[in-house]
């Protein structure tokens, strides 16, 4: 009985994760804008950081974010072939492999980092991704590095 009651309490104070979405200027950020102009509703847990290319994001930045309490980091770039800088997105893809190894070392679940392609016309996809990733992070619970 007591356990059940305790569960009820946690349900009321639902875990609201803090998630960073790093978006490239040319495709994904534009896709996020389109989600906005199309008034597509998605969870409020996402904070978008605009960069020029997914290929410019140093793995240390991602590790930094996750080890300082971000519950998840979603990196969004152009679909392969669409990259404004030819192949920055492919570089990001390669780095993702290395990132997962680093996350393992830190004891961070690999699901907390995700790389996705979002084009400028995929407002819908952007919104769905935000929902999906937020759900994933919610099911994982707070980051082990959460300071508070």
């Amino acid at each position: 009985m007591e356990e059940g009651a305790a569960e009820g309490v946690t349900q009321e104070e639902e875990f609201e994760p803090l998630i960073l979405a790093i978006c490239c200027n040319w495709c994904s950020y534009t896709g996020a804008d389109l989600a906005g102009t199309s008034r597509l509703q998605y969870p409020h847990n996402i904070r978008i950081i605009r960069v020029m290319c997914s290929g410019m994001v140093h793995p240390n930045l991602v590790i930094d974010a996750l080890s300082k309490g971000a519950d998840g980091v979603l990196m969004c770039g152009c679909h392969p072939g669409d990259c404004h800088y030819l192949e920055g997105n492919l570089k990001a893809e390669k780095r993702a492999d290395a990132l997962f190894l680093m996350l393992e070392d830190l004891g961070i679940e690999p699901e907390r980092y995700r790389l996705e392609w979002v084009s400028a016309s995929e407002g819908q996809r952007f919104a769905e991704l935000m929902k999906d990733f937020t759900d994933t992070i919610k099911s994982l619970g707070p980051s082990p590095y959460k300071m508070y």
């Binding site: 996020a32 509703q41 409020h44 994001v57 793995p59 669409d82 404004h84 800088y85 016309s121 407002g123």
Partner: protein, 1005 residues
């Protein structure tokens, strides 16, 4: 030509063609007026979902050009406008125009969209081909340029809601039609095209059967911004179709429909739609019914192969006789003939590949402009003058002078820009008025003093986010000296206010929290500059697209998030530094490599633009492949050899062209603006741009007894012999695709079908009784060349198809040449004993392309032609800035196409050559020498070859470091993410700046 020339150009039509012409002209120092009859530019490309052969997202690749056109200080976009009349002559035209009222004040409208959302009217949305509804107050598409709403008077019920809702007071119901004049030196026409009305082909049931749609409609089905948000659904019941049929040549190659020409793009278009549809909807099966599969462009045949092998799209060669609906299911039954058998097959949906027609009201348009049309009412041009209308000073590009795809259109658009500017090249820079700014305040050493301006955006933000609360919060953040809220931060009066606040509070950083930096950052940067600050001391937070619009029903969290975004912007802003545009010295001259038609055209055009140019040709004579061309397929009957002589004369007599015959390039050093080249005769040249026009060559076949028997010729051999009257054949068998479309050389050589038809007609002209048989895989006589295919067939030339399993064989029986082939129609093996066998041999890349590619650091395609920066939108540019491409060096093509590309390459080159000094965006990478240990990890990943490892002496020691070439670097930051030592940073997006934003996002408030 008038002496008082005008340094301005009128571009008519704002599709991808008009935008490209405008951008080139504006970058080359000319004032551009871009008019469009619609309320926004973007043309048909804005309605496409994906583009072949790369399947790029159309909007992704077009948006930078769209926005660039809209905000270019030398381009004035004038929407809703058409030409009434033209007076004057080349160099100085006076154009009378008429502008339909928008009924919304463009100066005041902020594009916030409340009016459109509140409008109670439901009108047909033309952008989605009538598949969705829009308000009477509307915008064509979300990314529209200009981002200004319009009231459709026909549909407006006059309820007054939009006027009440518009906080910017932009609604002006009583606006009237406006007439005005423009004085320009030349005119570029790119009015585009209209689509064939498929309901005229009653046998296909379009308009009667709901599930029969046009290819443009289907494109909207595929689009994420389309009526079904990218889900392929049947219009009749919303079911997801399992089987879709594509019917080709609907209103093309069809004398009954009055359009006997081929629309050139539909084969690729249909394959693309089939592939994308299958990607969107797993298990969907596509079936394309076609006559000839015309995949003639660069790497298009690879796409065709992938469509068959990877995507398992079924192809059937036939013209479909009839489409019938099954009333119970709304399915469609297609009746067709295959292998001599009548077959029927049921589909859930049918897509009609509708052909291109001339633009609407083309006759009045041509009359107003005083230009000639061809027999199909497209603009009339010549083989050697593909960009020129019949009126001097009026040029043409895009589909208006013949059906074509986007890359050919873009190359032409640049070419037309070169033509339009060369006649007014003396006026370069004269109509451009640079904006004056106050002197910039030196803020170095000052602590950040940040001003935050938070926008209500009418009710777009303020209706959800508690803006005053965000303002109060902003005031508590470190270094924020001032914070305020505005009804519209982008309005004129707020702009003025921001400048005053900069002075009043001695601000040295400005933040606007409103909409997206993609559209508004340039405006606010300009305001910051007008306030006496470096424009890069500006930062934005997007609290509309990321807060109020996506969390509309959660005001608390939207407000909280807005505060977070402002805090993140403040954190980054504190670390911003003043940045200055880089200046690059430009040698205002060019190097053209290759003295064939493309190279000579490029050299002549560059000279006409007023720049010195070095033309390097390895042979003794100019002319390249054109020396072997004696006749062309053209109504105008141009004589190629006469044209060649004239062109060579012009090249030799132009004192701006320095000719280097029997010379090759030994080495090229340097980058955009300043190259140094050493030639084989040890001459050294300095130049700002390079145009690669090295051509191609005809394949010398090893098959079909070529070289073994003198009666086996290539088309080029035949053409020469016919022209010199050496032979007068009585019987000829032509074999197509010799050396092309085979396993080791999978590409189509594009020109051989029309060449075979051309030579067949020539033989028929000399000897009407000659027996000619053409053995082919697909006849690819695209565009207006289709006329000659029909003419040849009418004159008795027989076309017999073969496929890879049943290739023709050429043998000898005694002294006779024998060609054996299976006739698929008669279904029997036939033997022919012709007088001559003529091989349509492939067009090959130059064997030494690789050498030049290495020298210039430019890539080759898998077929060993040069590979452009982007197959769709940068057809004549290389990723390496300052180097351009044209002619056969790019891929096989016809004379007119080579000329268009050569002019296009010059136009692109002129954007660099137009000024002694070139300004570059400062947001590129910067080497932090004290951190760099010369590990060189960054060098290979750089996609632009912008980094080099160097050594220098420091304190008596050798110090390794990396040097960044500012002309090549584009600021992608791959180096920054690769560097283990913080040795390289992209200005405006440094590690510290991004890290500060992350840190601020993670702060818990």
């Amino acid at each position: 030509m008038s002496n008082d020339k005008v340094g301005a150009v009128l571009v008519v039509g704002g599709g991808i063609s008009g935008m490209q012409s405008s951008l080139d002209l504006a970058d080359a120092g000319f004032k551009v007026y871009l008019i469009d009859k619609l309320p926004s530019i973007g043309g048909v490309m804005s309605q496409l979902d994906k583009t072949f052969p790369t399947n790029d997202c159309a909007m992704c690749i077009m948006a930078p050009k769209l926005v660039g056109t809209g905000r270019h200080h030398n381009i004035e976009v004038i929407s809703n406008t058409e030409i009434e009349s033209i007076e004057g002559e080349a160099g100085n035209f006076n154009v009378n125009l008429v502008r339909r009222p928008r009924r919304i004040n463009e100066e005041k409208c902020t594009g916030c969209g409340v009016c459109g959302a509140k409008c109670p009217v439901e009108a047909i949305d033309e952008y989605n081909w009538g598949l969705t509804r829009r308000g009477a107050t509307f915008i064509r598409y979300p990314q529209s340029v200009p981002l200004k709403f319009m009231i459709d008077k026909e549909k407006c019920i006059g309820c007054g809601i939009c006027q009440e809702e518009c906080k910017a007071e932009a609604v002006e119901y009583d606006q009237e039609e406006q007439k005005f004049d423009l004085n320009v030196g030349s005119i570029v026409l790119s009015p585009g095209y209209s689509m064939f009305d498929p309901s005229l082909k009653t046998e296909y049931g379009y308009g009667r059967y709901k599930n029969v749609v046009s290819s443009m409609e289907f494109e909207r089905f595929l689009s994420a911004t389309g009526p079904f948000a990218g889900t392929v659904m049947r219009p009749s019941d919303g079911d997801i179709p399992e089987k879709v049929a594509f019917l080709q040549c609907v209103g093309s190659r069809d004398s009954q429909a009055g359009s006997e020409y081929c629309s050139s793009v539909c084969c690729m278009f249909a394959m693309k739609e089939a592939i994308i549809a299958q990607e969107h909807s797993e298990g969907l099966k596509s079936h394309i019914f076609f006559m000839d599969l015309r995949a003639f462009g660069k790497e298009f045949d690879d796409y065709y192969t992938r469509a068959q092998e990877e995507h398992k799209i079924k192809f059937t060669r036939c013209r479909v006789a009839e489409v019938r609906e099954v009333p119970e299911t709304n399915n469609l039954i297609i009746k067709y003939v295959e292998d001599g058998e009548v077959k029927e097959e049921e589909f859930n949906m049918v897509v009609l590949s509708t052909g291109f027609r001339p633009p609407e009201n083309v006759k009045e348009f041509a009359e107003t402009l005083g230009i000639d049309l061809n027999k199909y009412d497209f603009c009339s041009t010549g083989v050697f003058s593909p960009l020129e209308t019949s009126r001097e000073g009026v040029y043409v590009s895009g589909v208006f002078n013949g059906p074509k795809d986007i890359p050919d259109t873009v190359a032409q658009a640049s070419g037309a820009a070169a033509k339009a500017s060369s006649i007014i090249s003396s006026e370069r820079g004269k109509m451009i008025t640079p904006k004056e700014y106050p002197p910039e305040r030196d803020v170095l050493g000052e602590d950040p003093r940040i001003g935050v301006f938070i926008c209500h955006c009418g009710i777009n933000i303020g209706g959800v986010v508690n803006v005053p609360d965000v303002v109060e919060y902003a005031k508590t953040l470190p270094n924020v000296e001032h914070a305020e809220h505005n009804l519209y931060t982008c309005s004129e009066d707020t702009q003025k206010g921001i400048k005053e606040k900069i002075v009043e509070h001695n601000l040295n950083r400005v933040i606007v929290a409103s909409c997206t930096p993609r559209t508004h950052e340039p405006l606010f940067r300009s305001t910051t500059k007008e306030g006496g600050l470096n424009p890069y001391l500006f930062e934005m937070a997007n609290i509309r697209d990321q807060c109020s619009w996506v969390h509309m029903h959660d005001a608390d969290n939207a407000t909280k998030k807005a505060k977070d975004l402002v805090r993140m912007a403040v954190a980054k802003s504190r670390l911003l530094e003043p940045l200055y545009k880089l200046e690059l010295n430009v040698f205002q001259s060019g190097l053209v490599i290759g003295g064939g038609l493309s190279g000579m055209t490029a050299a002549l055009e560059m000279a006409k633009q007023g720049f010195e140019v070095h033309l390097v040709e390895r042979e003794k004579e100019l002319g390249g492949n054109l020396r072997n061309i004696y006749h062309v397929l053209s109504e105008k009957g141009e004589d190629p050899q006469k044209m060649l002589k004239e062109i060579i004369e012009k090249v030799k007599n132009d004192d701006k062209i320095k000719l280097h015959l029997e010379t090759t390039v030994k080495s090229i050093e340097g980058f955009m603006g300043s190259f140094t080249t050493e030639l084989s005769d040890d001459t050294k040249i300095e130049h700002g741009v390079v145009i690669v026009a090295t051509g191609g060559q005809e394949y010398k076949p090893t098959e079909y007894l070529y070289r073994e028997d003198s009666r086996v010729l290539t088309q080029m051999d035949l053409e020469g012999k016919l022209a010199k009257d050496e032979i007068k054949p009585n019987s000829v068998v032509m074999i197509q695709c010799v050396g092309s479309r085979i396993e080791e050389r999978p590409y189509c050589s594009r020109i051989c079908c029309a060449d075979a038809i051309k030579n067949a007609l020539k033989i028929k002209e000399k000897n009407p009784d000659a027996q000619i048989i053409v053995l082919y895989k697909d006849i690819r006589s695209y565009g207006f060349r289709e006329d000659y295919y029909r003419e040849a067939a009418d004159k008795g030339v027989r076309f017999i198809r073969y496929d890879d399993e049943n290739k023709p064989e050429v043998t000898k029986e005694g002294d006779d040449l024998v060609v054996s082939i299976n006739d698929p129609i008669l279904g029997e093996h036939i033997k022919i004993k012709p007088e001559y066998v003529v091989l349509s041999a492939a067009t090959l890349p130059q064997p030494d392309n690789e050498e030049l590619a290495k020298m210039l650091k430019i890539p080759l395609s898998k077929d060993k032609f040069f590979l452009e920066a982007h197959m769709k939108l940068r057809p004549v540019d290389f990723a390496t800035e300052g180097v351009f491409l044209c002619g056969l060096a790019h891929s096989p093509k016809f004379i007119d196409e080579s000329i268009s590309q050569a002019c296009g390459a010059v136009s692109r080159a002129c954007t660099i050559l137009s000024d002694e000094i070139m300004e570059l965006e400062p947001t590129i990478s910067e080497i932090i020498d004290e951190n760099c240990d010369g590990c060189a990890y960054c060098i290979d990943p750089c996609p632009f070859n912008a980094l080099t490892l160097i050594e220098y002496m420091r304190n008596g020691n050798v110090k390794k470091t990396v040097e960044r070439n500012e002309a090549a670097c584009k600021g992608c930051g791959v180096c920054m993410a690769t560097c283990p030592k913080r040795g390289v940073m992209v200005k405006g997006f440094t590690l510290d700046q991004i890290s500060a934003m992350i840190g601020a996002a993670l702060e818990v408030v």
